[in-house]
Assembly symmetry: D2
Homo-oligomer: 312 residues x 4
Amino acid sequence: MLLNADAKGVFPIAPTPFFEDGAIDYASLDRLMDFYHASGCTGVTVLGQLGEAAKLDAAEALQVASRAVARSHGMPVVVGVSAPGFAAMRALTHDVMALGAAGVMIAPPNTLRTDDQIVTYYRQAVEAIGDDVPFILQDYPLTFSVQMSVDVIRRIVTTLPSCVMLKHEDWPGLEKISALRRLVATGEMRHIAILCGNGGLFLNHELERGADGANTGYAFPDMLCDTVRLHTEGRRDEMHDLFDAHLPLLRYEQQPGVGLAVRKYVLARRGLLSHATQRRPASQLTPAAMAEVEGLLSRLAQKDPRALRVEV
Amino acid sequence: MLLNADAKGVFPIAPTPFFEDGAIDYASLDRLMDFYHASGCTGVTVLGQLGEAAKLDAAEALQVASRAVARSHGMPVVVGVSAPGFAAMRALTHDVMALGAAGVMIAPPNTLRTDDQIVTYYRQAVEAIGDDVPFILQDYPLTFSVQMSVDVIRRIVTTLPSCVMLKHEDWPGLEKISALRRLVATGEMRHIAILCGNGGLFLNHELERGADGANTGYAFPDMLCDTVRLHTEGRRDEMHDLFDAHLPLLRYEQQPGVGLAVRKYVLARRGLLSHATQRRPASQLTPAAMAEVEGLLSRLAQKDPRALRVEV
Amino acid sequence: MLLNADAKGVFPIAPTPFFEDGAIDYASLDRLMDFYHASGCTGVTVLGQLGEAAKLDAAEALQVASRAVARSHGMPVVVGVSAPGFAAMRALTHDVMALGAAGVMIAPPNTLRTDDQIVTYYRQAVEAIGDDVPFILQDYPLTFSVQMSVDVIRRIVTTLPSCVMLKHEDWPGLEKISALRRLVATGEMRHIAILCGNGGLFLNHELERGADGANTGYAFPDMLCDTVRLHTEGRRDEMHDLFDAHLPLLRYEQQPGVGLAVRKYVLARRGLLSHATQRRPASQLTPAAMAEVEGLLSRLAQKDPRALRVEV
Amino acid sequence: MLLNADAKGVFPIAPTPFFEDGAIDYASLDRLMDFYHASGCTGVTVLGQLGEAAKLDAAEALQVASRAVARSHGMPVVVGVSAPGFAAMRALTHDVMALGAAGVMIAPPNTLRTDDQIVTYYRQAVEAIGDDVPFILQDYPLTFSVQMSVDVIRRIVTTLPSCVMLKHEDWPGLEKISALRRLVATGEMRHIAILCGNGGLFLNHELERGADGANTGYAFPDMLCDTVRLHTEGRRDEMHDLFDAHLPLLRYEQQPGVGLAVRKYVLARRGLLSHATQRRPASQLTPAAMAEVEGLLSRLAQKDPRALRVEV
């Protein structure tokens, strides 16, 4: 089951769970996968930046991917394969596709500048991994310092048929979604799925601009699923009400650097992870930050009872 | 009346109002200044990045500063004097201080990297403008690509007595505020004012970490004043309720690039600017974006009636 | 006399001479201009980065430009007008063209990334300065962090008729010259002058790739003129011999940061500047560096007697 | 035999030889190692950036390191282990040290900015690889965009005893060498070896400033050895004569991007590599560039007969 351009809904970016000693906590990974499925997620992404992929050795990375696929309940599993060289990217892609992954996600190296450099990089990446492997184009200038214009995305989509999805996390990015959708409407670009990252900070508006869903790691993937569902059902006010209720926490979680610590804290708080541990190097939550997160959960619970309830 | 390290409250970053033909709209500037004063602002910053300073010629810049001072109702007026060279910085500083400005704001050039380079730059800037001119240190890595560690700020504050305020807009930045306040508590650094920018996105938490107020351009400076006041009065829940009600719009307004267009649109919508015009080059709001802003105002009005009322 | 696309030869980038107290040394500027003319230079560029333009106030900048024009001996004078905003760029351009400048040079702000951003910036710059002012496109990624592809240059040249010259200082850049010349040969781009900067480090090869000359500040502009002349006359071995003899010093002078100090030291050593003074902030030559420069001059003098002779 | 702070001489950065089909050419690697030894090199570095390390898969990387160690003729072999995460760095370090490597080289990730970030990174790297593994600190801001001040290097050297060498390739960097040597002289920093990279562009002056040798990949490592030897023997004029004779080619070879293609071309031309092949992605030499290289070799041969003689 390979990913295709009709993907939609919510693909959470799964964190990699660790025990306090740094060993991988597969039981928590199973629990996460079960929860994603129960929440209505339509796919899962593992070994992204958020998944602390760079802190895993090659064997561990394969084990995580393998376990996720085994516990996917039919959801397609996408694997992050960004690497400093095409040899490592090819090797990891080959291995995870053999394990049953549905596709891979590729971020650009932060040395790319010109339009041609970006297009060339993805062409070479496809040569490396093979054009039969569906891939997701990750457009995240805030983190990668690579700016992809609408025309660059069009060129990549047009010349590389295995590009099936855009992980949209440009900021500002609303006009980019509209521009891409216009290109599809006028026949200048084939349709690809657009799922939104950037912590979900603009998800409510992104859906209304034509995005197909979310591809981010916010600690309430169930809320992301509800947001997409309410949007699909045309229940606009309810969608915005739900989203806005979560926005204070979501904004807090989307801070660079410390965001993953917040996310793992909340996932542990919800009973989804046994431990909030990150492998080193890692930003840690201070007591002041923990108190802020507790305060945000408390306030959120007034509007969304899931905020204080253990889910699993 | 010079700015000093006891500053607190809200110093809005004033936009520069233009007529549709690009001429400066001084009547709107007066109206803004009156509104800032009536709202309880304790100072005003003009000719910041947000103020389209780079689109004014030298004579216009002085006129804007002069008009703001003349209409300041006793509020200290801070002037952005960041420039590619110290000659221009010195000249502008000299002129605006002679006009009655209370101090200047200096952003770092985006070529600075090491700690020593940053400290040296500010030492040279003070040599250029004179050590009798109070200055605000602007710490905004997202925009300027310059990362100031806590120790760099301590070194600048310690070696340059004319540094009286930090415009704090690091992201994440909560722990930085706490760390700076600890240095003051332990006597390792003298006190300086910390007013927060970054669109106000974390203002509620920043106040609780020890910040003295806001120094940003959100189109509801009256809300910023209320937030600071509620915090000062210890009315914590009300403070967060008010802030969270504004967060969806505030987040929308804080988008890079298009943010100023949103801000001017809302200020015009509120009757504070006669026109939302920016000088070129400028990002423009599309009809879809305008509809989004209207939707956000509409939803906000359910909680804060100022959102749809013309103020002036 | 406006600059046009047929420019060729050597346009030295003139330093701004200062007395030891920082005042502008116009007598030395006159001497430089006389020397440029006597050496066979075909133009002069003032107020470039190398000219410490950012350390001059607006009145001084105009005086320098004015003096250079007055002492130009018929050579076209190009003025650097790069600025953080279009208002300042327009004002300076207007003033220097009125004084008799032949054109202006515009470097890109280091925030530009995508192809469209670069093309748009130059379109807006031309709107600001007027399409009747010839301009030089400065392509110097090492300093400005902006990478212009061949296609971006083609788009700028094609859409903006007032672009008459490329200051080529990409590194590596030889293939870029060849590619641009091919575009002209096949009729895909109109001809523009290509003069080379980057300290002249590859000038011998650049000429053989089709460049029209040099536009850089090496302290021996007379050698640059000879190099171009020998190339034009087809005296290939002599050209390379002369160039290679200078390469050790030229390489030393082209160091970032400290390069201008070397350059002014050598120009003073040659009697062309009365003082090697730079305005602050400035890198200074240490005694060790001075000894190295003296050693390089000494070795150079064995092959080119100008290295130890006072010229003027 | 572990690397220590007394290292000196020339450690060439070895390219990885490939057959035309991309397979690793171990016979050429052997030939290179033999030649390095015969030329008087005192060590070898493999799997650096220049070694196309990112284009090898994990097994190949180990094979290259293993082969180099097996053919080292007693020269210490340093292995580049820079990686996007500490897990991969630890794994590769562990494996190559077990194979007999003498130490590892670690470049900083290009996201580091503040002094503390840089020092922390190396502390964490040592935690990952073990403090019993000697490492080389690579200071190459041009490529990595990380600027290490003298004080940052002092902090790293002082807090991390396993740092035994600096690969110095800052530009300009002469004063940095002098400053580091002064710190040793005054007892503020322990001695470490300083070997110079940056293509060797300033090697003659760097030696005179106190550097211990070269650690770069110029296609004439025999010339690098002679330069260091002449310097050590105090034969200053001969040293500069030899270096200056090579400077035109050395400068040509040090171009970013295309440099490796030049280097492999010349090494093949000299009979040291069977093929100039790079794995993809790679910059290729155009016919014009090949003609330039041939011209440079030809001119060089007038002063150094090795330029046209097949060595092996």
